[in-house]
């Protein structure tokens, strides 16, 4: 069974649809930290679902110049509707076809349920994984781990100056 990738690994590049007519590649974002939030599905029934929560925290992520990308196996049309409904201000990427292709590269595809696991990655500005975390699929992992990882990246930069 594939395992979540560890810190120190080069983050595999990928290109996925962010909207019905736009794609986004991870390599386009080199030069700034990137947060990848893999999650099972849009339209979770709770108002404070993981993507909605991160939407509220976006200004904090931006303080670290980090870009947040949500990834699930939903199509770009489903993402568009969910993002509109939830007023999301960050891209949701469609790991739709081949299904879970990127999630599999990152060791976070749930074979039995056919969805992405709930997993987080913080990738540094050089494209190296700085932190990763696999949450139980039914548990929202929150953002404290992400913020700590971003803070550690920032501190490491200051030390090396």
């Amino acid at each position: 069974m594939a395992k979540i990738l560890s810190p120190g690994t080069v983050a595999p590049d990928f290109t996925l649809h962010a909207t019905p007519d736009q794609s986004l590649s991870l390599s386009e974002l080199k030069g700034r930290p990137v947060i990848l939030a893999f999650y099972p599905a849009d339209w979770s029934p709770v108002c404070s679902d993981q993507m909605v929560l991160y939407n509220e925290i976006l200004p904090e992520f931006h303080r670290y110049h980090a870009e947040l990308l949500g990834i699930s196996v939903d199509s770009e049309w489903c993402h568009a509707a969910f993002a509109r409904e939830s007023h999301l201000h960050f891209p949701l990427l469609a790991d739709f076809e081949p299904k879970g292709f990127v999630a599999k590269k990152y060791g976070v595809y749930h074979e039995k349920f056919g969805v992405c696991e709930r997993a987080l990655y913080v990738i540094d500005d050089k494209g190296i994984i700085a932190w990763s975390y696999l949450s139980p699929i039914a548990e929202n992992p929150g953002a404290d781990g992400i913020l700590e990882a971003l803070e550690n990246l920032e501190s490491a930069k200051k030390v090396h100056r």
Partner: protein, 179 residues
């Protein structure tokens, strides 16, 4: 297990004995229906265990999807300046399905709060910084949804319906230690 990163202080809204040995913190959003379901549970816990448990409420509004959450939090913070935070807190949840600025002014009048001042507070978002600090403290503590509860600094991961029994067990352990 995520732990509360912001200690409870005199800046917080506290019910029950301020020196109680058990601290029970809720991060909530006034427009969240799950918080509405949880508020009578928290209220009952405080009524039963108020000598052993201090209950603290902190703001965690989801501003993008709940357009009245911020103004409700502002109204509650304003009520606090007139020492009726908890009255406003419960009134807001009881009237959650009708939340609006006129409703909040009505609730303020019920509590004899100056409605012109309350109106200005809501419009100017006077307490925005305090509300945002509550929110960020919650994020750093591992708040992952609303409501999120902490019992003695540890995040409670069970259902709100299990809270009363969990607190009861904590109180009984405390009592047992006295013997």
């Amino acid at each position: 297990m995520p732990k509360l990163k912001v200690p409870v202080s005199s800046e917080d809204h506290i019910q029950g004995d301020k020196n109680a040995l058990i601290t029970f913190v809720e991060y909530g959003d006034y427009e969240c229906p799950f918080c509405k379901k949880a508020y009578p549970i928290a209220k009952k816990i405080e009524e039963i265990f108020h000598t052993h448990v201090r209950f603290v409420f902190r703001n965690f509004p989801l501003l993008e999807i709940h357009r009245h959450a911020e103004m409700a939090a502002e109204a509650a913070e304003f009520a606090d300046t007139y020492k009726c935070f908890w009255e406003m807190h419960y009134l807001i949840f009881e009237n959650q399905n009708k939340l609006s600025q006129p409703l909040l002014l009505e609730l303020g009048t019920t509590l004899n709060l100056p409605s012109e001042e309350l109106d200005i507070v809501i419009q100017k978002k006077t307490f925005a910084s305090k509300i945002r600090n509550d929110f960020l403290g919650g994020v750093k503590s591992g708040v992952n949804g609303t409501p999120t509860f902490f019992i003695n600094d540890e995040r409670f991961n069970g259902s709100p319906y299990e809270l009363e029994n969990t607190i009861r067990e904590a109180v009984e352990k405390l009592e047992f230690r006295r013997f």
